[in-house]
Amino acid sequence: MSRTLIIAEHDGKTLNPSTAKCASCATTLGQPFDIVVLGASVSAIASAAANIDGADTVFAIDAEHLAHPLAVNHAAEVLAMADGYSHILGPSTTYGRDLMPQIAAHLGVNQVSDISAVEDAYHFKRPIYAGNAIVDVHAPESAKLVATVRVASWKAAADGGNAAVESRSANAQAASHTRYIKLESGVSERPDLQTAARVISGGRAMASKENFNLIYDLADQIGAGAGASRAAVDAGYCPNDMQVGQTGKIIAPDLYMAFGISGAIQHITGIKDAGTIVAVNKDADAPIFEVADIGLVADLFTVIPELKQLLG
């Protein structure tokens, strides 16, 4: 029964890249894996999941009450199929972090959060203390393993798989005690922060919501995602879904450019897997320069327009 089940993540339309990252992690466990897609009218998403290299079977569980990602409803379906699996993996995104501990608790096991590397099927590495320490975690082989996969640590598995898709109806009823109301999402055509190859971020020094247009324009010019520090989000300069850091999104782009971000440890946690970190800040003593690969001590309000011109 050494077999892994991956919980797919999607927004009702497209499969989230976190699923292919979980597949990479599952592959290194060295045992076969299946994927379950929970939602309403998910056949297209299930086909996308079936395309992930290495997947055996994709289970598409279709029910109206699964349309929105309420942990209680999704957990019930995963639990109904848990018997056939030794390992159950979900992403370390807010979806996975909401859902997976429910599954672990019902199975009576502790969860391994944020797997960043696999040593063997029950021995992992994960960051703690905002990434200031990496620990070796050993899970008991006598119990099921429930874990979240730290998506910034894994490359997406390649396409080219040819998994069978099996449709199933839901096993459980909707929980009546929890009701989905709505999702307010910043409409953005920019690349998703968690998968973008380049990310341009602004901090408190941007000083206003309007000034953040400088960040957006530069991001659009080079096809980058747009991010922010907690201070900028707290100040209302940009929406919460742009926050990068320990309590926001943990990202690993090839290029990360931070403008007017001082570099609190909580922010550094979110970017230290980036390929190249560029920091532009007026304050030469800003801690961001300790981790920057390329630093420029200058006023962002003169640098950004110059960059736009030079890159144009």
Partner: protein, 248 residues
Amino acid sequence: MKILVGIKRVVDYNVRIRVKSDGSSVDTDGVKMSINPFDEIALEEALRIREAGLAEEVIVVSLGGDECQQQLRTGLAMGADRAIQIKTGEKQQPLSIARAFLKVVEKEQAGLVLLGKQAIDGDNSQTAQMLAALWNRPQATFASKITLSGNTATVVREVDAGLETIEVDLPAVISVDLRLNEPRFVKLPDIMKAKRKPLDVIGMDELGVTAEHDLEISHYTPPPARGKGILVENAAELVAELKNRGLV
């Protein structure tokens, strides 16, 4: 209604963490300890709900050795009515913590449980969800706004895609995010008053909770250091460097 707030004693968020050279743990000798910042926000929210007349009592609960009484006293000084220490000498993992909290929640007949969305030491983000699952009650994680009305709570959640709103029936477990509120400062007279507030101690074993399927942590290592960077003088040099490295 009683509100139960879980608070964890952790290394203060301003402290720069160092891994011990023998890899046995992180160095916590002489380091400042505080209430986990997310738990402080949970407590602040509970106090505001009580102050709005929507709850009668706020109880802070912590699990650990006697040193966690320091954080419970801080919670009392912030305004909690009483405190409970679930006493244990061992480091407990989220499943056991959730099981122990459940015993207290049931005994106290709590109408709402507020917890931080994660502790900044273990960064697990599990206890609230586990408690909701074991209690068979609703969960609303990563809350940035909570509105109580009668028997329901409307909760705005900070999720990767933006802000999600859900409605849950009470009793429920809510885990809180950073932007929910700004916790109050504790005043000296409140610290004096807190010394007279009740703090009950219950043994973890008295609750009948024993750890099982624990994870074992064998080794701590510092994160790999990034190579030393370079400084450039102006935007033109920056662009040249980026082009050189094939990044733009």
